[in-house]
Amino acid sequence: MCLAVPGKVIAIAEPDGADASPLLRTGTVDFGGVTKEVNMAYVPDAKMGDYVVVHVGFAISVMDENEANQVFEYLRQMDEAGDLAPDRSPTA
């Protein structure tokens, strides 16, 4: 359910033919020194060099690097704000 790990896309193999099932789209993902073949059916927009989150052999999302940095931006604001919590409107 929950164990999914981010890795970098270093190769993508598109299926042949216009009618080919999207399930045939695969890629090679580098997880900090270990590489695995991963099914890319659910990340049609993933490109070379993107980071994807992989669960049981399927990429399930493309990592949004801006949002990834937001966590640390939040921490920085937290320090600066002192007593006031940073104003957070739901980013959902």
Binding site: V5, G32, G33, V34
Partner: protein, 347 residues
């Protein structure tokens, strides 16, 4: 693998696979012993003896140990059951501070095992023994019906001479001792699991299976006061530390950040949901040394290739209740042995 086998006389080559008669005590078994075992193990001097080996020992006090090896698969990245059988027992002797000298090797072979497979394993054992300067001096062979064992089981027993001055064991551990690990964790367990379960990792992670007498010898020669040694095998670092802590009634505190794990192993653990603390190793050990001798100990260990990355990971923080604590992100938390082998998880 470049196998330089013994020049094999005809009888053995007539049988591509092991049959029941190879364990039957008759001519076939005699041939097997001569052509498979004696020609490989006998190369270090005295030929392996018939019933028992008469040995000269350099010291009055000896260390004696035994272990059985039932690993599946028989061959895995960088090593095989044969090397494991030699190094495993050599290392148990080394952990007591004893210089490994002689080994026995007993085989239980499964009917149908290809003779080539047996020869590969035997050659590995021969090489491993030569590497560590031990002689395999006696042994036994049995054959069981197909299905009654996984190809082969090997039991080795070993004798070593105790050259160190003091005693080495959990009872010697003192509050304040530094805990040193000889190198990075988890290679063996990941390598074996990957082959056994068919989990392909593009970068092959290879077993760290290796003999440990050289670094132990260097450690003892450095003059550092060594209180306890334990090689890390099944159950990983966690099991070794918990066993020592419980027998010595001490509290050991180790720091997560200090524990070395290679990037590829860490990534493999993340993917499978493994904790590196519990993953098996075969060429690593922990040393408990007097704290003011720790630097000297680490320097000595780093002179050997197999312990070139030796590092301090913690200390003995109290005596009394036996337990192990890990300093992690959220502070201290207890470490315990797992009840079974870790299984890859999806949660």
């Amino acid at each position: 693998m470049n196998i330089e086998g013994p020049v094999c006389p005809v009888p053995l080559s007539r049988y591509p696979a092991i049959v029941m008669a190879h364990g039957g005590g008759g001519r076939l078994m005699r041939d097997l012993i001569e052509n498979a075992f004696i020609s490989a193990f006998g190369a270090v001097g005295d030929r392996p003896a018939h019933d028992s080996a008469a040995l000269d020992l350099p010291t009055a006090r000896i260390a004696f140990t035994t272990d059985s090896f039932v690993i599946r698969p028989l061959f895995f990245p960088n090593a095989d059951i044969g090397e494991l059988a030699v190094y495993g027992t050599v290392n148990d002797l080394a952990m007591g501070g004893a210089r490994p000298l002689y080994l026995s090797a007993s085989f239980i072979l499964e009917e149908g095992l290809p003779v080539d497979t047996l020869m590969r394993v035997v050659q590995s054992m021969s090489r491993a023994a030569a590497d560590t300067g031990v002689a395999i001096v006696t042994g036994d062979t049995k054959v069981v019906e197909k299905g009654r064992c996984d190809g082969m089981y090997i039991t080795t027993a070993g004798v070593g001479s105790l050259e160190c001055v003091g005693t080495i064991g959990p009872a010697e551990v003192r509050e304040g001792d530094t805990v040193i690990v000889s190198g990075d964790l988890g290679r063996h367990g990941i390598a074996v699991m990957a082959v056994r379960e068919g989990f392909a990792f593009g970068t092959q992670i290879v077993s760290d299976c290796a003999p440990l007498w050289d670094p132990v010898q260097a450690l003892l020669a450095s003059g550092a006061e060594v209180h306890c040694l334990r090689d890390l095998t099944r159950g990983g670092l966690a099991s070794a530390l918990v066993e020592i802590a419980e027998s010595a009634h001490i509290e050991v505190t180790v720091t997560e950040e200090a524990i070395p794990v290679a990037d590829a192993v860490r990534s493999a653990c993340e993917i499978l949901g493994y904790d590196p603390l519990h993953v098996a190793n075969e060429g690593r050990f922990v040393a408990f040394v007097r704290s003011d001798h720790a630097d000297r100990a680490i320097e000595a260990l780093r002179t050997c290739a197999v312990s070139a990355d030796a590092v301090s990971i913690g200390r003995v923080t109290a005596s009394g209740e036996g337990r192990v604590l890990l300093r992690t992100v959220g502070g201290l938390r207890p470490v315990d042995m797992l009840s079974g082998e870790q299984l890859p998880r999806i949660c």
